[in-house]
Symmetry: C2
Subunit: 269 residues, 2 copies
């Protein structure tokens, strides 16, 4: 996992990840819970945005949450401690050099990680090896090509395209959500089922407008402003117009759509 | 409703509309039913693809289904008769010259109609006038800008864009789904609630792949081949490559996504 994390590791980005996790908890995680005593590997826990939700929903499962960034792991541990969790063990580790024996876990959970890897299939293969036969793997990814909105705006679409390009240059794939099904099938997982989780925000859903359109998605695009300008793929005026147009979709007559994909597969017993 | 119907009125198109209706019945209509005795206006019934579903789901409601095309109305009546329905009255009528008194109906239902109108707001206003105070209006529309797929293909995206352009030139808007909320609010409807209905097709859902990806969406795009070539917005080779790439998304490792939008609002009592 040597790729650069395109979103950076700043305080504002961490707040964005927390806002995102709060808004999306039901949509993404309501149908994930693990039986008492099961051993779950969370691969790529980041600052623990999903960890707290996961561990609270399955209080009698034992989680091992890893991330390649020591700083992120430290923050995730603080978030977990603050939530009073006692069923999570944190460890700095690289998905491609895992310090665990094969078939050590009943379940693997991977959320917003594959999009940053240049070899997501290899990662799924490695993680499948960590599963006991009959175990399950859950994968959640977004897809920035699923974003559309009203009023439509080419400036806003171009600003989003900046992130897609930067992520591609860093070895990742911001359009990976739509590919979850073939990726999981290719990794040899069985009974793969992918379901889309669509975010729809209009002003009758103010929590989604504020929590997702503004504080999650638009904030995420804003986060690559400097990198995109430095890379020469946009100029300050064009980019800022795009951001204004994204904010415009959060007004009373605006609409914003985005889709996450959640896949669950099993390892043949 | 003087606009040209961009999809044409041919036998193949009618089959496409029936395939579409079969695949999407649950997704679009499962939550629509009308109480016994209520009077429902279906505006723009076309060949009756939705009429049969609607009337079967609300057997004790009385439907008045209109369309601007006499041929379509005749076909819709045949479909209704073949299904043994006795609670639908068909009539040729123009939305902008309705032969009914104001406040004649308890409910109005409009599906895949606004996308073809150059003044959808005016149509909603006229239809709202048909509603008794306290009555409801249900509107369903697609959004061709919501289509994305794996493998991604610029040729496929360009072929879709041909339909979007032709529909725009004919006075319509193939991206209207995302605008339902502001359109319904602008029409003065109350308690407007829009919900997206996303179609997700991968090979674990063969019915959706065949019924939607191939026989509904790709067939719809194929249906504008000649018009698009005549209009000079594509060439035969480019267009056919786009169609091949759309069919490619229906193969074992392909994925296709599309979203319909359903809005329900009420007229203030």
């Amino acid at each position: 996992m040597s790729e650069a994390y395109v979103h950076g590791y700043h305080a504002r980005e961490n707040q964005r990840l927390k806002d995102q996790a709060g808004t999306l908890v039901e949509l993404l995680h309501a149908d994930t819970s693990y039986p008492p005593g099961s051993l779950v590997l969370e691969a790529g826990c980041g600052v623990g945005s999903q960890t707290v939700t996961l561990a609270q929903r399955s209080p009698a499962a034992q989680f091992t949450s890893i991330d390649v960034s020591a700083d992120s792991v430290a923050q995730a541990k603080r978030a977990s401690d603050a939530a009073g969790l006692t069923n999570v063990r944190f460890q700095r580790a690289d998905i491609f050099a895992l310090p665990f024996a094969p078939e050590s876990f009943d379940h693997v959970f991977v959320c917003f990680v594959l999009e940053h890897l240049s070899h997501p299939s290899d990662a799924l293969g490695v993680l499948k090896n960590m599963l006991k036969p009959g175990g399950s793997m859950t994968v959640i990814e977004g897809d920035h090509g699923s974003a559309y909105f009203h009023p439509d705006s080419s400036a806003a679409r171009n600003a989003i395209q900046c992130l897609i390009e930067l992520q591609r240059w860093a070895g990742g794939n911001a359009l990976i959500g739509r590919q979850l099904y073939p990726l999981m099938v290719d990794a040899g997982l069985d009974t793969v089922r992918v379901s889309p989780r669509m975010v729809y925000a209009d002003s009758s859903r103010p929590g989604m407008v504020d929590g997702f359109t503004r504080k999650t998605f638009t904030a995420m695009i804003e986060g690559v402003r400097e990198s995109a300008i430095e890379a020469g793929i946009t100029g300050p005026e064009d980019f800022d117009r795009g951001i204004r147009d994204l904010h415009r979709t959060a007004e009373a007559d605006g609409v914003f759509c985005y889709t996450f994909f959640k896949g669950v597969g099993t390892k043949r017993p």
